[in-house]
């Protein structure tokens, strides 16, 4: 055995492997990030820069897209515009440069608020119901347990659009059409199957001894569930909540069919912007960029719960 033969681990990757793997990950990240970065850049371009060819990477930033997103404008004669007083804020002055005046706020904010209420409301409901039923399926002798679980899963086997028309008719009859409550219930029913299955996996992993110990120490089963099981299921609950929120936040098909003036969410609204007075790409890009924010914030806030799973291990198996 010569000194040239150094011991190398079969488990630890070598430095070269690490570098290659690292570069691949970075490359993949860049490829996936480009469309997002492009949308964000477009949001800050003027309409001319947005459609210029070749595309501009360096440009003079403008807030016109955001102004057009949040306001409705009307075209006026230059004489009329000159007859008005000084512009009311930044958006008004941008509009006047294009011979327009701000007529009022656009519908983006109410649509965005609808999205927030419906997405977070349905996520809360789906995760709450999902956690309770997953706990029940995990811990109790439920008659026909496997059949019920399969039935719950089977609700996801059909594309949602297949049931859209029956749901539309039912919603119209019972008055849930174009209501926030109707959309919350609809997204909850779609998400709850995912929540039950995901959370059952996580709760199955938590040894029963924890609750049993707490029950012997003086807790009722419900108290044991709240104080002992829930804290340990936070990882699963956080992951499930993120999945549910992303679905409800991005959902388009049901929203187009079932909502209009009252409960419309942001996804069906954003494409409408394109139609209003030419193809206003910066406004669309601004709407999309803002639309990304809640999911990013929510995921970042829950990140620490996602990572906490690693530190578990006080039970020896």
């Amino acid at each position: 055995m010569t000194s040239a033969t150094t011991a190398h681990s079969v488990v630890e990757p070598s430095a070269t492997t690490r570098r290659v793997a690292g570069s691949l990950v970075v490359l993949y990240a860049i490829i996936t990030m480009i469309p997002l970065v492009w949308i964000m850049l477009t949001a800050f371009k003027s309409p001319d820069d947005a459609i210029s060819y070749p595309p501009k990477v360096m440009f003079k930033p403008s807030l016109e897209g955001f102004c057009n997103l949040f306001t409705t404008r009307s075209r006026q004669t230059p004489e009329f515009i000159r007859s008005l007083g000084p512009p009311q804020g930044l958006c008004d002055s941008i509009a006047r440069d294009r011979n327009m005046v701000v007529a009022g706020p656009s519908n983006y904010v109410p649509r965005f608020v609808n999205s927030l209420i419906i997405a977070f409301g349905s996520t809360l409901l789906a995760v709450a119901l999902g956690t309770l039923s997953a706990y029940g399926f995990s811990r109790f002798r439920v008659p026909l347990k496997d059949d019920l679980l399969f039935f719950i899963l089977s609700t996801r086997m059909m594309p949602p659009i297949a049931v859209a028309i029956p749901i539309y008719l039912m919603y119209r009859t019972i008055g849930l059409s174009d209501t926030r409550l109707g959309m919350i219930l609809l997204y909850t029913s779609v998400n709850v199957s995912l929540a039950v299955w995901l959370l059952k996996g996580f709760i199955d992993e938590i040894p029963r001894e924890y609750e049993e110990a707490a029950m012997i120490d003086g807790y009722t089963r419900f108290q044991a569930f709240v104080k002992v099981v829930l804290p340990q299921a936070t990882t699963g609950i956080a992951a499930t909540a993120i999945f549910c929120l992303i679905f409800a936040w991005n959902e388009y098909a049901f929203a187009v069919l079932l909502t209009s003036g009252n409960a419309q969410t942001a996804p069906p609204f954003i494409p409408i912007i394109i139609g209003e007075g030419g193809q206003d790409w910066p406004a669309v890009a601004a709407g999309t960029t803002l639309f990304l924010v809640p999911i990013v914030v929510f995921t970042v806030l829950l990140r620490k719960y996602l990572l906490r799973g690693i530190t578990f291990g006080a039970v020896r198996k």
């Binding site: 040894p207 029950m215 012997i216 120490d217 291990g313 006080a314 020896r316």
Partner: protein, 365 residues
Amino acid sequence: MAQIKVEALDKSFGNFHAVKSASFTVEDGQFLCLLGPSGCGKTTTLRMIAGLELPTAGTIRLDGEDVTMNRASARDIAFVFQLFALYPHMNVRRNIGFPLKCEGIGPAERDRRVVEAARILRISHLLDRSVSGLAGGDRQRVALGRAIVRKPKCFLMDEPLGALDTEMREAMIHELRALHDRLGATTVYVTHDQLEAMAMADRIAVMNNGVVEQVASPRDIYDRPASLFVADFIGSPPMNFLPFRGGLQTGAEAIRLGERDVAIPAAREAMAESELVLGVRPEHVRFTDRGMVRGEVYGTEYLGTTQIVTVTTHYGALKARSPSSRSFRTGETVGLDFRPDTLSIFDKASGRAIRTALHERGTHG
């Protein structure tokens, strides 16, 4: 502290009859081991005493009070799990104090009692550590701390040492026994390890297939097994069984084994002619040229001061314990003799031990 009385306890899971009419009493301050192979119903029995499972039939009395259907938290017992069941999101101090918090005891009193429990278990230095960083033995001490901090009526332990390595287990056996002697707490301890049971228990209840086969002191369980199963399960190597056909008169002091008479403790009941089994512990087999059973040495296992000699005979392979000083050659023909006053006789069909003078000498249990 309290007496636990289990009467005709039955538990079925669907078609599976886990516990069949189990009855035993644990006196105040006694340490009882429920011993048996896995799946024998010992853990189910313990969980019913704890209130984690409800029995299908039967009663459980704690200090005379019928608690059969009471909630676990209403029974004032402590349970130590094999997996320790420490809450990973709490540190040691909060884990030990948790049962007191459930009872609504104030922080000052709680802390005083946690510190006291930690002192008894010698884990005071670990109080502010996270439980996930602790070694197995320390985790088990924390789990014990959570049990003793409340001063419950009794302790129930489900294989608490099962997850520890051998060395730590032996240390903990002595610690647990010392703790029991110090607190005088009524304890029911489930294990499949006969050495643990023998080392710790005041009394052992041996279970098999949901049936309590024998409840007695470790010595009685070993010397006077009540059934073939107990005789076979306890002891390493287990008791030798020599099947024979014969009958017994009350007072008979010998049985006919092949061509020779073998002296036995005087029978105290009569047995009609039937298939019987003679039971001999390996240490009660003696090598003698005039032995009543002859056979060939098959092999030896060296155990230090003693060795186990396996001899193939007409009755099957017999194991004998012999001093290591004596040497055996494989294939050598040897004669075997049995110490008469220690022999057990079983009815092969029922597995039950036949009453003999052997059962009268014991003052144990």
